[in-house]
């Protein structure tokens, strides 16, 4: 059975709420029923078949083709199955997803993996601000799963992050790991200003020396036993993180943010 494919007819002028088109909600529905689903498009509601050409039948394998950054809430609360986005994704990609896989061949907008609970989210391009963050006003961001960004991440990656891992092959913007509660953020490229601002616990694993605030204290250089195991767990990913030459276990450890509870750590490869 071929993948259920939604091919965008033309770029929408207004934003589209894609949250109804997730595997568990489409399970058991025929194509006519799926075509009749109404999506919020700006101030209007439009049928799926007004916006997309629909082919394929497998609701557990969804492809969104010709995607643009106006398609918001792709994979919201996804609970198994896979969604492949060919093109860019809008805001709130994989928000609160519980299980399954989402992959995006282009860029993702704001709040990708926002309050994500489990599963794998892969973005081949760049991710916007608040990657893995919490909705405004909420106290806990991403709570589990893995986010892989092959490009760069915007500002506030991992804001309020509670658990899980965010892997960024490129650079991370300012305030990476801000207000982090726990979890792991690994950045192969460079990081911006105010790294780990007000982080309480958690790990920022860096390949390059960051510009650290005065509220992070040097704890010395160490060989940490958990790092080889962490890198071994990346082996299943289609990523530079899976390459054996990416792994290391010797790091400079900085503790902080001492302006908060100060139980977080920044580990920098040496």
């Amino acid at each position: 059975m071929s993948a259920l494919t939604f091919t965008l007819k033309q770029p929408p002028a207004q934003r589209v709420d894609m949250s109804p088109l997730v595997c568990q909600k489409l399970q058991g529905m025929d194509v006519d029923a799926i075509a009749a689903i109404e999506l919020q498009n700006g101030k209007n509601r439009r049928r799926v078949d007004e916006l997309f050409y629909i082919t394929g039948m497998n609701t557990q394998e969804i492809i969104i083709a010709n995607a643009t950054n106006k398609l918001d809430f792709i994979g919201k609360e996804l609970d198994g199955g896979s969604i492949s986005v060919q093109g860019d994704a809008g805001a709130y990609l994989g928000m609160q997803m519980k299980a399954g896989n989402i992959s995006v061949s282009g860029d993702a907008g704001l709040y990708a993996a926002c309050e994500m609970k489990n599963g794998l989210l892969q973005i081949d391009g760049n991710a916007g601000d608040f990657l893995g963050g919490a909705l405004p006003g909420n106290k806990q961001g991403m709570k589990g799963g893995t986010v892989l960004v092959k490009g760069n991440a915007g500002q506030r990656a991992g804001d309020h992050m509670r658990r899980g891992q965010i892997l960024i092959e490129g650079n991370a913007g300012d305030y990476c790991g801000s207000r982090m509660v726990a979890g792991t953020i690994a950045v192969m490229g460079n990081t911006g200003r105010y790294l780990g601002y007000a982080m309480r616990r958690g790990t920022l694993l860096l390949w390059n020396q960051p510009q650290l605030s005065a509220t992070f204290n040097d704890c010395g250089s160490h060989t940490l036993a958990f790092l080889p195991m962490l890198f071994a767990s990346f082996k299943c990913l289609n990523s530079r993180f899976a390459e054996s030459n990416a792994a290391f276990n010797r790091v400079q450890r900085y503790g902080g943010d001492m302006a908060e509870t100060g139980r977080g750590e920044v580990l920098v490869r040496i």
Binding site: L224, A225, L230, S233
Partner: protein, 298 residues
């Protein structure tokens, strides 16, 4: 049944259901992994007074361990889940956490999870860090030599304890040599431990005692110095009896271990002073697992 001049008694070993777990100890090198493992499995020969029975299952190469360092697999058996959990935690805290360069991991996937490092983390006094890697939860506890890395839980499974056989020989050195040969072969069998010192017991016990305060006492029927003073089970030429006790994850595991152990003893044969193989039981009324010697060796 006679094998190489050794009589295999028509009797059986009687064993009991137990709870078991396995843990993997790793360290900078095999020497320190073994030191930690020996400490953790020390004073654990019998549930009668030790609270558990524990032993080293085997040495693990770096590619067999979670952190890629040399390691040792140990197993702990106890009569109940609560007792097993307590023994595991106490021993891990005093013998592995304290041992230089050590790390501690689960050795059984599945089963009921019981705390391994889950509570040891509090030694970190708030500086401990949790990491979920590959779906498993680990704790990094800061210690004076760096970090103690431990998996949060390990699995507890149903198991069998108390498989045994007795080696009856013409002399003490011959009995010991036969038991050493048996243990060497039995240690190659997975999922079993022989918890007594070096795997061998020289003081097999019977249930009860003339002293009301004791639940067990010397097995006088198999004591060679009492041949003329008690209802003996020994013929005149027997001068020494030693026992090998086996705990295993399943009855089949113990079957295999007993078979290779008895075979090793029989290979030495009557020419080396080995006269009989027997086994300890309680008439078949106490333990649900019966290991019939002649069936095992058939």
């Amino acid at each position: 049944m006679i094998i190489n001049g050794v009589t295999i008694d028509k009797t059986f070993a009687e064993a009991f259901p137990m709870k078991a777990t396995r843990a993997i100890i790793t360290a900078q090198n095999e020497k320190w992994a073994m030191i930690s493992a020996q400490a953790m499995t020390g004073f654990a020969t019998s549930v009668i007074a030790c609270g558990c029975e524990a032993g080293i299952e085997r040495v693990l190469s770096p590619d067999e361990t979670p952190d890629g360092r040399p390691g040792v697999a140990i197993m702990i058996y106890a009569m109940g889940a609560k007792g097993l959990a307590k023994q595991l935690e106490t021993r891990a805290g005093q013998c592995v956490l304290t041992s230089p360069t050590s790390a501690l991991f689960a050795g059984i996937e599945g089963g009921k999870p019981i705390p391994l490092g889950k509570n040891l983390r509090y030694f970190g006094d708030g500086f401990q860090i949790a990491k979920k890697i590959g779906g498993k939860r680990y704790w990094r506890v800061p210690v004076m030599d760096g970090e103690f890395l431990t998996e949060a839980t390990t699995g507890m499974v149903e198991a069998v304890g108390g498989g045994n056989f007795l080696v009856l020989a013409e002399s003490q050195p011959q009995a010991l040599a036969a038991c050493e040969a048996a243990i060497e072969e039995m240690r190659k069998i997975p999922n079993v431990i022989m918890p007594f010192p070096g795997g061998v017991v020289r003081s097999g016990s019977k249930v009860g005692s003339k002293y009301a305060s004791l639940g067990a006492s010397t097995n006088d029927a198999f004591c060679p110095t009492l041949k003329g003073m008690t209802k003996t089970d020994l013929s005149p030429e027997i001068e020494s009896v030693m026992e090998i006790v086996i705990d295993g994850l399943t009855k089949e595991d113990i079957d295999k271990a007993m078979r290779v152990g008895i075979q090793a003893v029989c290979d030495l044969g009557a020419a080396n002073g080995i006269k009989r193989i027997s086994a300890g039981n309680y008439g078949g009324k106490l333990g649900p697992f019966h290991f019939h010697l002649q069936e095992i060796m058939a």
